[in-house]
């Protein structure tokens, strides 16, 4: 029972015309697992992540969230209803935060729960307080996104995703757009989530973070998973030549 994957990607493929961005990728993620996807830009790692909630639909293959197929082929209307309910269980954090600039922090967090879960304003506000406490930004509850630093924006974006109580969280280069000194505060929030056994799939360029936090690392290149395994193996003794080359470039200057 506990071994059943929460996310199950089966033979995922995607192409734009003749360009194949994903070539027959399968991936299972179990509850509480933390998976990092690394690889050069253009390797397809973001596309794979965005296929999990059907933001970038696959050309072929299946994505399952527990016992529901995410990318089920349905008539438009039915698909809309289906995908909206599936997506409530999949939190996503973007490179550019994508906070709603016309709403304050509280309303950014409570918008979706109020609309979709039929909770009262008081309950929603309580939810915002809880989530902001978690990311350490309770004192910013009445601020607007433009009044926050990049790191604070991303922490609010994480709180917004968590407020839907998702079963899995997807991170699409969550710290890539941040100034170096702001990366750590976001990493700390993600580490804290890891300690709470949140299931996470993390596309990242930060090898140090992947090494510290993740249970499994996938190295992707040109639309395929070149190598995967526990971080100590991937980072210390990679088997594949492409992985070695990539890590040589990326670990330089880091330790």
């Amino acid at each position: 029972m506990t071994d059943r994957p929460i996310i199950d990607i089966r033979h995922a493929a995607k192409s734009y015309g003749t360009l194949e961005v994903l070539k027959d990728i399968s991936l299972q993620v179990k509850k509480g697992q933390i998976v990092a996807i690394i690889g050069p830009s253009g390797s397809g790692k973001s596309t794979l992540l965005r296929a999990i909630n059907d933001l970038d639909p696959l050309t072929s293959g299946e994505v399952w969230l527990e016992d529901a197929q995410v990318n089920k082929k349905l008539p438009t209307r039915q698909y809309e209803a289906h995908i909206n309910s599936v997506r409530q269980n999949i939190g996503m954090v973007f490179q550019h935060f994508n906070l709603f600039p016309h709403l304050n922090v509280r309303d950014n967090i409570t918008l979706a729960p109020k609309m979709l879960k039929g909770i009262s304003k008081a309950e929603a506000d309580q939810l915002a307080v809880e989530q902001l406490n978690k990311v350490g930004l309770l004192d910013r509850i009445d601020y607007y996104p433009s009044q926050l630093s990049g790191g604070q924006k991303q922490r609010v974006a994480i709180a917004r995703a968590l407020a839907m109580k998702p079963k899995v969280m997807l991170f699409d280069e969550a710290t890539s757009a941040l100034d170096p000194e702001l990366v750590e505060e976001v990493n700390l929030v993600m580490k804290q989530l890891a300690e709470e056994h949140m299931t996470m799939i993390i596309v990242t360029h930060e090898m140090g973070f992947a090494q510290d936090v993740c249970d499994r690392v996938l190295f992707m290149d040109q639309g395929v998973v070149v190598e995967e395994g526990p971080p100590e193996v991937i980072f210390k003794t990679p088997a594949n030549e492409r992985t070695k080359n990539f890590l040589r470039k990326h670990l330089k200057g880091q330790n």
């Binding site: 909630n53 409530q88 999949i90 709603f100 918008l111 979706a112 609309m115």
Partner: protein, 210 residues
Amino acid sequence: MIRVFPFFLEAAWVTIQLAVLSGAMGLACGALGAAARLSRSPALRFAGAAYVSVIRGTPALIQVFILYFGGPQVGIQLDAFEAGVLALGFNIGAYMTETMRGAIISVDRGQTEAARTLGLSRFETFRSVTLPQALRLMIRPLGVNINALIKGTALVAAISVVELTYTAQRYIGSTYKPFEMFLLAGVLYMAIIYVTGLGVNWLDRRAALR
């Protein structure tokens, strides 16, 4: 000059009525047009695009003439003021269609993605995320459309609506002072446009993002 001034004020009031009514109609046409152009239905998209290119591709004066002089031939009997409002409103609506469409599509795609990944439907996303941001973006360009519309109301002088331009022409006949008459009309147009501009500025400031 003093003698004719009250008549010019009355005419300015007609110009304001023309602008307000056709402006309101233009906003409605613009909203429908933008909705059509951004629709998932190819037929609606085509209808929206056709509306915009036909209206923007022909002189507004011709559109006014077609409705007022050509209308009766196909059973549309309108007085000059009604025809003026409808033609001007339908005309500015095409420009407003493009203004509104532009504002909507310039809201960052990441906003839609974030809302959709939270589970909001297309409609919920549009209503609570895209539209509030697009409205702020469209205030100023719609102000430009309104400015053009106010000046465009002068066209309906050609179908004898007794508005500012028509009134100026009429009093030239009795005063033989075209310079003063057109100058006075111009000053009144400018006053209307100035006040409208203040209103647009106020709206824009109020809607500004913090």
